[in-house]
């Protein structure tokens, strides 16, 4: 007798299993909590001040909105690389409609949302009906959008005069910044639609098994298109708020959101559920990304520390739940 199978589950290992199960579900949340506690202990006065916490939410707001929209596309089993340019595009368009065409604020906002819907439809048609791989299709629309941005703005930022528009992102209602309110509203709607409506159920089915969804009578094409439109609308909301916040429309304003939104959504997929994208998870992912940035900035960390820590936090957050699941289950073939 040479090689022995030692059963991994020893007698007293039951509490171990329970701990693993806990880590598997809540690993990502634990990392978030650990980060908050860590920064809170290191810099209690600055980090845990009410002002800074509201600040963190305010900084998270735009990312959360766009990552929420992206989550829809990911739930539908697709991919979107165009939302960063939609952010820039709708910002430029909105500011341009205000400043160049002199339209009133609601009309300008409405106009840029409509334009974003058109882009979302284009993405959806290319992917769902012409069956072009989502990465190519959205990369292409994204490039075309960049061209349109340049065409409309000539590459230069369009600056806003002081006016009502910049108050939108800078104002507050009952002490809560308007972007935070917008984030709460958008996430609530996204959650409700995804979990409590036909569209949401069909989205999940489509993402889970497209062939089966189609054979169950789900209008897979329309559902996919809807996901792209939702993502585009969220990106446009983010773009409008961003241009209001920075006071101008810029060709590359949205670029910084591309990777962070993906990081947030994929982080979120390891929150509680295993590998499925969902709105609450994405929000947790956004918080992790934002709090890491905020806390390190408060600590005044060097750039290289910033990057090293961000990378490791990203890994830790996912690895804790993933490896617990693996040790626990080893279910997936």
């Amino acid at each position: 007798m040479t090689s022995t199978v030692t059963a991994p589950a020893a007698p007293a290992a039951d509490t171990g299993r329970r701990a693993l199960a806990f880590f598997a579900s809540y690993g990502t949340l634990i990392v978030l909590a650990a980060m908050i506690i860590g920064f809170g202990v290191a810099r209690p006065v600055e980090f845990l001040s009410e002002r800074n916490l509201i600040n963190v939410l305010n900084q998270s707001a735009l990312l959360a909105i766009v990552a929420g929209g992206l989550t829809y596309v990911l739930v539908a089993g697709q991919f979107d690389l165009s939302f960063a340019n939609i952010i820039s595009f709708s910002g430029i368009l909105c500011v341009g409609l205000l400043e160049r065409s002199g339209l009133p604020i609601p009309v300008a906002i409405g106009g840029s949302l409509l334009a974003a819907i058109a882009v979302g439809i284009a993405n959806g048609v290319l992917v769902a009906y012409l069956r072009i791989h989502a990465i190519v299709a959205t990369l292409a629309t994204s490039t075309v959008l960049l061209g349109l941005n340049f065409l409309y703005s000539n590459g230069a930022p369009i600056t806003l005069g002081e006016g009502g528009f910049t108050d939108i992102a800078r104002g507050a209602l009952a002490g809560i910044p308007i972007p935070v309110i917008a984030m709460a509203a958008v996430l609530a709607i996204l959650w409700l639609v995804l979990n409590r409506t036909l569209l949401g159920h069909h989205l999940q089915a489509t993402g889970s098994n497209t062939a089966a969804a189609r054979l169950a009578g789900v209008a897979v094409g329309r559902v996919t298109l809807a996901a792209f439109v939702c993502a585009a609308v969220c990106a446009a909301i983010c773009g409008v708020l961003l241009s209001s916040r920075i006071g101008s429309g810029m060709v590359t304003a949205g670029d910084g959101f591309l990777l962070s939104a993906f990081a947030a959504a994929f982080l979120g997929a390891s929150v509680i559920r295993d590998g499925q994208f969902h709105i609450l998870g994405t929000f947790v992912g956004v918080l992790i990304v934002s709090i890491a940035g905020n806390g390190l900035a408060i600590l005044g960390a060097q750039s290289y520390v910033l990057y090293l820590v961000q990378g490791l936090v990203l890994l830790a957050a996912v690895a804790l739940s993933t490896t617990s699941r693996r040790v626990l289950g080893r279910r997936r073939t």
Partner: protein, 514 residues
């Protein structure tokens, strides 16, 4: 008389006594589900060892543990007396174990030959070699199964059933000492099943240990030297050849004797109105003229050899495929479904034969799988929103009614955690929720245990009594004996029809080969 008995039946070998694999006190839990609770079982060289048991009894889990796909929680596996750890499938192959798994797992972009040979190439990973063309070993394995299609085309272009043959052939290329077959005949027709049983016996006579899982008791009775029955993750009985009777098997599986009831067939129902009329429907080479009528409340069977176009016909009726020519009428009105959704609106439903690829949302909950196309009925009144709690409560009721064994996790657990048979029941439930007038069932009992099988037919019967018309496609002709009428298809067209007392397995087979 069973279909298999028609074409097989050879001399019995004496049982050799050399134990090859000994499984001792094996346990495996999935969360709170105890799939295996202390199983002891021995597989001997030269013996065909049957495993039977209800859905979810743990048969596949045992096989998967041997294959290195699952790591058991405790217990041991001894190979030739040596306690052995099987960390992954390639280790299992090296130990001389070969497997036909319950689910189809092929690389769609590879050719049949490449799929058969996948994993059995030896040598350095970076040494140059060609992997295209047909490998001689693959051809040999294919010939053994009587495969008559080309092995050098991507399997994506094969039919489901051809894919099954490929998957079986893969297990035969290995020079193995134990071969485990998890419901290998579920997707084969009578002829091919018989051939496979012959291969199994052949292997045993060459001193290979054969592990054979099936819900078709006739096959088990005919083939196996010894049968172990599973119940709830444990062994409920082990029967040797002399004591092996159908009755005792049934007893061991379900825990009590159940008489296979054959409900009285109804009259042909000539007087009832015709619900669905299919006239000379054609599509490519798969459908070359299908004609049939379905009456209200009728249970119509479609018999045929695999590849005879039954699935294609069902898909055409269901609007999943466009037809080239021909016409259909539903309730007397012209019926030309433009899409699946359109067919569902017209009251047509299809439970597909390919459960995993075309039916299940594996990572979604049982509830979501059940309601995917009936969420609109779960809305809270006057709002566009579905009610989660009510939906789950009702889903639990429906699951219970269908006899789905949920155990822990209830209707919230991902459906991936259910055994194959239970998944099938959920799919049936899904389509019943759409309240169809015409229900098409393509191989509804594939991989379903005999208890559940009876339950499914009982349910179908009671559905027809409410006026629903049902079409059943099955490769197990005995099942079709339950039908009011049977249409036989061959090479894409309907070639005959059997009614009432004239429905016999023999007649069906005769028409198939006409």
């Amino acid at each position: 008389m069973s279909a298999t008995e028609l074409v097989s039946g050879g001399p019995r070998r004496p049982v050799s006594a050399s134990a090859f694999v000994e499984v001792q006190a094996l346990t495996k839990t999935y969360g709170a589900i105890r799939a295996l609770k202390g199983v002891d079982i021995t597989f001997r060289r030269g013996e065909v060892h049957g495993l039977v048991g209800a859905n979810g009894a743990g048969k596949s889990t045992l096989v998967r543990s041997l294959a290195g796909l699952e790591q058991p929680d405790s217990g041991s596996i001894r190979i030739d007396g040596v306690e052995t750890h099987v960390p992954n499938p390639s280790a299992a192959t090296r130990l001389g174990l070969a497997f036909i798994h319950q689910e189809l797992n092929l690389v769609e972009t590879f050719t049949a030959s490449q799929n058969i040979m996948l994993g059995s190439h030896e040598g350095a990973a970076l040494a140059f070699r060609r992997v295209d063309g047909v490998h001689p070993a693959a051809r040999t394995a294919a010939e053994r199964l009587g495969i008559d299609f080309r092995l050098d085309r991507p399997v994506a272009r094969l039919t489901v059933h051809q894919k099954w043959l490929v998957s079986i052939a893969r297990a035969l290329v290995h020079d193995c000492q134990l071969i485990a077959m998890d419901e290998p005949t579920a997707s084969l027709d009578a002829n091919e099943s018989a051939r496979l049983l012959k291969v199994a016996r052949d292997l045993a006579s060459h001193d290979v240990a054969v592990l054979f899982i099936s819900h078709r008791l006739d096959e088990v009775l005919e083939l196996c030297d010894r049968v172990t029955a599973f119940r709830d993750g444990g062994v409920s009985a082990t029967l040797q050849r002399p004591e092996l009777t159908r009755q005792r098997l049934v007893e061991a599986i379900v825990g009590h004797e159940s008489a296979p009831s054959r409900p009285a067939r109804r009259d042909s129902g000539e007087d009832r109105p015709v619900v669905l009329e299919v006239s000379d429907v054609r599509r490519g080479r798969a459908l070359t003229g299908a004609t049939l009528q379905l009456r209200e409340g009728e249970l119509l069977g479609i018999a045929g050899l695999v590849g005879s176009g039954r699935t294609e016909l069902a898909r055409a009726i269901f609007g999943a495929d466009r037809i080239d020519s021909g016409a259909m009428r539903l309730f007397g009105r012209p019926y030309a479904p433009t899409s699946v959704a359109d067919a569902i609106r017209h009251g047509v439903a299809l439970v597909s034969e390919e459960r995993r690829a075309e039916g299940l949302f594996l990572d979604l909950s049982v509830t979501s799988n059940l309601y995917v196309n009936t969420w609109h009925k779960r809305r809270t009144r006057c709002t566009p929103f579905t009610s989660a709690r009510r939906a789950e409560r009702q889903a639990a009721e429906i699951a219970q009614e269908l006899g789905v064994v949920l155990r822990q996790g209830g209707v919230r657990q991902p459906i991936a955690g259910l055994s194959g048979g239970n998944q099938q029941k959920v799919l049936l439930g899904r389509w019943l929720q759409t309240e169809p007038a015409v229900l098409l069932l393509d191989e509804p009992t594939r991989g379903v245990d005999i208890g559940a099988r009876e339950e499914i037919y009982r349910r179908i019967r009671s559905l027809t009594r409410t006026g629903m018309s049902v079409i059943v496609i099955s490769s197990e002709f005995e099942e079709l004996l339950e039908c009011d009428r049977v249409v036989v298809m061959s090479a894409g067209s309907t070639v005959g029809e059997l009614t009432g007392a004239s429905i016999t397995v023999n007649d069906m087979l005769r028409l198939c080969y006409l």
